[in-house]
């Protein structure tokens, strides 16, 4: 209770008085201190985001929702409002611009990801069909698919004869992630597939992949991935950065699963939750960077 009162008093009054006092003493505003005091990355951008969102100035609050191509103007406006002289702090403009690209980029990334998720896989769509067949060729280069509807799909971990019903709530996002991993980390993907096809320790490669897409998606939606993207992308995060994160999850989950040696696939959700918690713990670290680093000589 006391904590709540303190927080209320602090955010409503004390914070502003303190900021004002420090500004009088040092001649720099809070954003300047953040940009010069922290190296580029999650800590700087997170603090800048908080500062902007809780600002009294409309210009500053509006900045986090500005379109990408209007951001430069927006930075100029902020400097005007905050009376920051470029001659005195030459690095500020660039730093704040990058922070804003990251903050607004995260929101637009979510919109793009959501669009892909809502796109339902359709057999009438040639691009969708082509992508599905491409997934097969990337994972099973030596085996020919006998027909479009076949039990063979089970070999790469779909549930039945036709994968189209397996994408469900993840739509095309699930398929695109699977293809991205197989295309950009072909060796790793095939290695993961071979683990998944283990007679005892195995799991359904594609289904688990779609499940991990859901994990990536909900982490993004909740904002938990912000520190990761702020650290790894010095600008606007793009769709491929999201796909990269999926690759990390797919590869790391497999490693985790193999190491844990679960009794059977029926334990999946329990281990998924355990893995989910590990990922969330990583994301608490301001230095977090969830990038796939394949251990060599393992293939």
């Amino acid at each position: 209770m006391l904590g709540y009162i303190w927080q209320y008093v602090y955010t409503s009054f004390l914070r502003y008085w303190l900021k004002w006092l420090i500004k009088q003493a040092t001649g720099t505003c809070e954003l300047q201190r953040i940009c010069s005091g922290y190296k580029p990355g999650a800590t700087r951008t997170t603090k800048a985001e908080y500062s902007l969102r809780s600002s009294k100035s409309k210009v500053l609050r509006g900045a986090v929702e500005t379109d990408k191509d209007k951001l430069e103007q927006c930075v100029d406006q902020i400097m005007k409002v905050k009376n920051v002289k470029p001659q005195k702090d030459p690095l500020f403009k660039g730093s704040l611009h990058i922070c804003l690209l990251q903050i607004t980029g995260h929101s637009s990334l979510y919109v793009s990801v959501e669009d892909l998720r809502k796109e339902v896989f359709s057999s009438d769509n040639q691009a969708h069909e082509a992508m599905l067949l491409k997934l097969w060729d990337l994972l099973m280069p030596t085996v020919k698919l006998e027909s479009r509807i076949t039990k063979q799909w089970g070999d790469i971990g779909f549930q039945g004869d036709d994968p189209k019903t397996d994408f469900r709530g993840m739509g095309m996002l699930g398929l695109i992630n699977l293809v991205f991993f197989s295309e950009n980390y072909t060796e790793e993907a095939r290695q993961v597939l071979s683990h998944a096809n283990h007679p005892k320790l195995g799991y359904s490669y594609a289904i688990v992949g779609i499940n991990l897409t859901e994990m990536a998606y909900s982490l993004l939606k909740s904002g938990a991935l912000k520190p990761h993207f702020y650290n790894t992308v010095q600008g606007t995060p793009e769709l491929q950065d999201f796909h990269q994160l999926y690759c990390y999850l797919a590869y790391e989950f497999d490693k985790f699963w193999v190491a844990e040696e679960p009794e059977s696939i029926m334990e999946f959700n329990q281990y998924r939750e355990k893995f989910h918690n590990i990922v969330k713990t990583h994301l608490q670290d301001p230095e977090v960077s969830l990038t796939l680093t394949a251990s060599s000589g393992n293939n």
Partner: protein, 225 residues
Amino acid sequence: FFTTQPENTCRFPYERSSSKSLSHYFYLIHPQGLLSILRRLKQSPEQEVRLLLLGLDNSGKTTLLKQLAAEDISHITPTQGFNIKSVQSSGFKLNVWDIGGQRKIRPYWRNYFENTDVLIYVIDSSDRKRFEETSLELAELLEEEKLAGVPLLIFANKQDLMTASPASELAESLNLHTIRDRMWQVQACSAVTAEGVQVNTHSLQTQSVNTQLGLRQGGLPTEWY
């Protein structure tokens, strides 16, 4: 979600007008299963009911589970393993087990049979090509000793789709009338729109309450056969 109309569980807005009424396909069976629920309910003060959701992959089990738990159904992915949720409702604790339906994990179904109060078998009514497969799986389940006498609730799911078969047609093509060793019921529903789902759970609960209060003597609940 138990507060919807309890009556008329067999009627459903999506039910196609068929020349024969749905009840034509129902056959009166021994009320053994319900009695077993009764016994268990009387023993446990917290009135726990174990519901087991089975059916082929993509029949809608997880959507149904989430719908029962009043959770978001827009991000569902295929089930690896199983999901379980406990739903508290007017003195009842429904423990709902949703087991993945893909062929590869069907052999594990048997691990979840024990102590099941009601078996809920879910069918994608629009997937005619797999009626035979789902019929075979159901037949196998009914042979299982551990499920002997367990009341069976069949959800003719996905009635929101234009291509869905009416529950009566489904009952006919699956030869449900041959089931004579337990109480059973077929229910047209759409897990996505929640139509037919809530009503049914309600009837389930009403049954249990009625039975518990000894109202069974007044005649078998009309929905169960």
